[in-house]
Amino acid sequence: MQADATTRIHPRCDLAPSGGDPHIEVSDLTMAFGDNVLQHDLNFTVERGDIFIIMGGSGSGKSTLLNHLLGLLPPTRGKVIYAGRSLWDADEDERDSLLRRVGVLYQSGALWSSMTLEENIALPLGEYTDLTPRQIRELVQLKLALVGLAGFEDYFPSQISGGMRKRAGLARAIALDPEILFFDEPSAGLDPVSARRLDDLILQLRADLGATIVVVTHELESIFAIGNNSVFLDIEAKTQIARGDPRRLLEECDDPAVRSFLTRGREPAEPAR
């Protein structure tokens, strides 16, 4: 199980594009809680402008990987490199400045419940920019309008619906015009139409803001609709077993675990005997 640091484990299906403009690189990353290894020797690259999907079954460590990428939890081993700078080798100030270019939409929005939507979005703007109050208010109104929540500035998170909370969370995530946007299970808890709208919004924001987008999800519809690159974390192998465009993986990858996932179990992981 312990792979030598020099020999990289190659995924069984590797359709990852090469020679792009790497924005986030993960190299030889191992995540473990004590002796319990969740995933080992993860290697993948998110290219600039990608919509990159981190997929895998429940319990495969997707959310833990997200925490490593977001600087919330140091990995057991390995590196996370943002535009050439290693996140976990940097000192605290440098890590903060790297992470300031990153926006995150948490699973349930994670809005601060004691603040109105306007205050939620204005807080990062007030902390990290020297804009005038009028400019901040305009930006807040713009971001809320972009996610379709114009007019809800004075509402508290508890006064709006789950789908609206998620969109408000997105407005906060894009408050600082981030270069990289992370989404944790964006369609969880949304009806199909709202989920689809959120997917469209993600595509539009990628095109207009020019951001790189990383999505953690197991929602197949979204995976095929928006993803152009991915990594598949397998529970059994405890490492990635596929990389690349999910639609091409569906066509070309013949690994049973990947096929089973991408076809919602229509093609069983273990061939029938």
Binding site: S114, T129, A145, G148, S158, D177
Partner: protein, 391 residues
């Protein structure tokens, strides 16, 4: 023409000198705005709308052309400005021509103006007149008391079910609540009551010494602690400790919809959650108060010994003569009622909690306040009853 790419807000440098805004009124009906350079985050970014308003009259204006051919970089602050400009144009029925903007910027403006702002009735938070405020507070206090009595009724119903052996709760919950609010509370209850006993003895000794009646410090400490200070101090400590904890526990369960889950499964939360807590506290309070009384008297005895040089034997003899069994029982009866108040205020506020994180904190605070207010007022009622009965 290479289209300028958006720049990240946080990394943007100060506004360079080549960022310029030129507004030209061509004739009565048309106006051009030329933006050049880097339009990125800066508090010095020119205000486009204000610049347009410098060229009145707006009413005659029919067309605004935005010339962005010299634009080198932009971010959402420019979009926010242009969104305001577009709103201005819509208000005055002016056509806005933005064809030279980069595609991304145009899309963002369209996206931002696609959904009209929701028309929302702002809840007026006007100031209430004095009489209205008094009325609102009185009805709130009345409702709070009614809630408490209703809750007491529900608890008694649950207790009735328990007596007929039909209540559903887990014994392990009961024992856990007993452990946390009995033995685990001993150190803090002991410390506070020891100090209170000392304080009572200390204050009393100063007065009694003047009459040479030092020995009566035993009466003072004994009756004071057993009838009043022991039950009350213990109840107040538990109101802070237990009541707040119950409110936070049940409030969190309310937030997670755990209480709704009990209801839908046909398990009355009153039986499953409140009943074990009531039983545990009713069982534990008298024991805790008995312990508090003993420790409090001991605190008084220490002061009597060190300050008044009364021997412990003498103190004990005097105490036994002064404090009757009725005093002890009166204190313990009172403490049982305090125990019920503590549980009810905690559980009531927890069950009433709204579904948000701040509501849990509010429930805990409210539980402690409710608990202490009811404890003190009940204590006053008990004082009147005991005196009337001549106890």
């Amino acid at each position: 023409m290479a289209s300028p790419t958006p720049a990240p807000l946080a990394a943007a440098p100060d506004l360079p000198a080549d960022t310029r805004l030129e507004v030209t009124r061509l004739d009565a009906e048309s106006l051009t705005i030329r933006i050049t350079g880097r339009w990125v985050l800066s508090r010095d970014m020119p205000d486009i709308v204000a610049a347009v308003e410098h060229h009145p009259p707006l009413a005659a204006l029919r067309r605004i052309t935005l010339d962005a051919t010299g634009l080198q970089a932009w971010d959402s602050l420019l979009i926010a400005e242009l969104r305001r400009l577009k709103a201005l144009c819509t208000d005055h029925e002016i056509a806005l021509e933005v064809g030279t903007l980069p595609d991304g910027a145009r899309h963002l403006i369209d996206l931002a103006t696609a959904v009209a702002p929701a028309r929302i009735n702002r809840r007026s938070r006007g100031r209430l007149g004095f009489r209205t405020a008094v009325g609102v507070e009185c009805t709130r206090a009345a409702r709070s008391t009614a809630d408490m009595i209703g809750f007491l009724g529900e608890t008694i119903q649950a207790l009735g079910a328990a007596l007929r052996g039909r209540a559903r709760f887990r014994w392990v919950d009961l024992f856990e609540v007993m452990q946390v609010n009995g033995p685990a509370a001993l150190p803090i209850v002991g410390l506070v009551n020891f100090l209170v006993g000392m304080i009572v003895a200390f204050i009393g000794s100063i007065q009694l010494e003047r009459f040479g009646a030092e020995i009566y410090v035993a009466n003072l400490v004994g009756i004071g602690v057993v009838r009043e200070m022991g039950p009350m101090m213990t109840a107040i400590i538990l109101a802070g400790r237990t009541s707040a904890a119950f409110a936070a526990q049940l409030g969190t369960m309310q937030v997670n919809e755990e209480i709704s889950a009990f209801r839908t499964l046909g398990i009355p939360p009153m039986q499953f959650l409140v009943l074990p807590r009531v039983i545990a506290l009713v069982a534990m309070m008298p024991i805790l108060v008995l312990y508090a009384d003993v420790i409090g008297i001991f605190g008084g005895a220490v002061v009597a010994l060190l300050k008044l040089h009364l021997s412990l034997t003498l103190f004990y003899e005097q105490l036994v003569g002064a404090v009757t069994v009725t005093d002890w029982i009166g204190g313990l009866v009172k403490s049982t009622v305090f125990g019920v108040i503590i549980v009810l205020s905690g559980c009531l506020r927890g069950m009433q909690a709204e579904r948000s994180a701040s509501a849990v904190g509010a429930a805990a605070t409210s539980a402690v306040v409710t608990g202490i207010v009811f404890i003190i007022s009940t204590d006053a009622i008990f004082a009147v009853i005991y005196i009337t009965l001549g106890i």
